[in-house]
Symmetry: C2
Subunit: 293 residues, 2 copies
């Protein structure tokens, strides 16, 4: 039984869709009210939202490891904020969490369309995802396995995922994608309502996902500065197969650098925030995963 749901926006202060959806729902809580559970909304990184920056000191959405949450010496703005959020919406790993489900709203400058980023293995989370995919056939699912420990906001609750929508520049609201993100959240709340009421939900036995394989960094010079861009033929090609020798980067000098490796799918191609994290795109394998009923 899901009793408490949190919708979080502005975990990254320059991703406005979540910020303004939360503001909308805080004005009109009826829109997210369902009978069988309670839903709260939260604007997350208040200072970063004010400054329209991703973060102040460190990425809030990488600040929720158990180690960091219990380390009193970490005192950056986001390290302290993560601890407060964990008390409010967690606590991570506890058998009696304040929230049963967290959906964290993000945007990306990459052409990711409507995406779910999931690193949760809980069957309820996966049934929710299957329901959303059924209601919104354009939705794609990316299983993130790039970290040993889960450090995302949604990792502090037993169930949850991030909704990632793009292409949206930082600091911009796009009405079309705002409406589509909003609709995904309503589908999620509807699913939880049906699940709680033990309604018979017709779900497939398995769903198609993109499973994280690895990161691809930009070519860089000795000082760490990039010396090539995502090639124009790869730009905007999220969820698209890349094969041996396909153009991958274009050096600043105009030379094409080809891809070498297994045939995989490129995701998060040329996401602005990942230049500093050291990757130009991620590679994923398409596979089908079974749902536990």
């Amino acid at each position: 039984m899901i009793k408490n749901v949190a919708i979080t926006g502005g975990t990254h202060g320059n991703e406005l869709t979540g910020v303004y959806l939360v503001k909308k729902w805080q004005k009109n809580p009826k829109l997210i009210k369902r009978n069988s559970f309670k839903t709260i909304t939260k604007l997350m990184n208040i200072q970063a939202i004010k400054e329209i920056r991703r973060y102040i000191d460190q990425d809030l959405n990488r600040s929720f490891s158990l180690n960091d949450l219990s380390n009193d010496k970490l005192d950056t703005y986001e390290a302290k904020l993560a601890k407060e959020i964990n008390i409010l919406l967690g606590k991570k790993g506890t058998p009696n969490p304040n929230m049963d489900f967290i959906v964290d709203l993000h945007t990306t400058t990459a052409n990711m369309g409507l995406s779910i980023v999931v690193s949760n293995e809980n069957p309820t989370t996966w049934r929710a995802i299957a329901y959303l995919c059924k209601m919104e056939p354009k939705l794609k699912v990316y299983r993130w396995r790039g970290d040993i420990e889960k450090t995302f906001v949604d990792s502090i609750a037993p169930n949850g995922f991030a909704i990632e929508v793009g292409a949206i520049p930082q600091g911009v609201l796009r009405a079309d994608l705002f409406l589509q993100t909003e609709m995904l959240v309503y589908h999620l709340l509807d699913f939880i309502e049906k699940e709680n009421k033990k309604e018979d939900i017709d779900l497939p036995n398995e769903i198609e996902i993109y499973d994280h394989e690895k990161l691809v960094d930009y070519p860089r010079d000795r000082s760490g500065d990039i010396v090539a861009m995502v090639h124009q033929d790869r730009q905007d090609k999220d969820y698209t197969l890349i094969k041996e020798n396909d153009p991958l980067f274009l050096s600043l000098d105009g030379e094409t650098i080809g891809y070498s490796g297994e045939h995989l799918y490129t995701l998060f191609v040329n996401e602005s925030a990942y230049y500093e994290k050291g990757f130009a795109m991620t590679l994923a394998r398409k596979r089908r995963v079974s749902l536990v009923k």
Copy 2:
């Protein structure tokens, strides 16, 4: 005779095309070498480039009014930087300027394609623009007249303009638009070379421009926060006519707000950096201007 040209990039630290074009040319100065004049390149807002932000304290590209340049009391990071730049590339208004032509490289999150933003009335500047339009028929020209005094970087030299290219998210290099911006600069240098050598350049008698009329702000609440987005039917519609009752904004509550006013063209639609400046788009009138030969 044009003797000294400056190509400036990173006036806004999160507009990477200019930053990396300047880095490219600083490594390979031959690419911008022409016989009849000297070209220098300059990375402008070093600290903002480092932090991948538009600016630190204030918009550098609004910091070049004569008043501000001569006001010793202004001591923000950009106010001081503007004075240094004015000594290096100006001085503004002097009869013996260090630079005869400044081209300042920008990007925009709006779907502006290849654009020139000009607020200079010097005939040589306009002949350069006409040449670029001839060499690149996709290029569009926006004459900015929104300020009483010119405060842009290029205003400190007798000739110049900004190149604005989009849609590009902040903090992102797009290879396709990088190459097109680069090509525009080469055309400009070629024009100056021909002009200096008094070659006969076949230019039209007049060119089509978009002449600034006014700014349109977002609907806002009493605290100044936006309560509507650019309507999905207007999104990406730069250089596109808007007519009475055309959808203009979509309120967060889902209501369409129509346009009311003269039929004009919308530009800089939903540019990220202009949320704080108080406009959602600019309106311009299409007209033809004659060239002085």
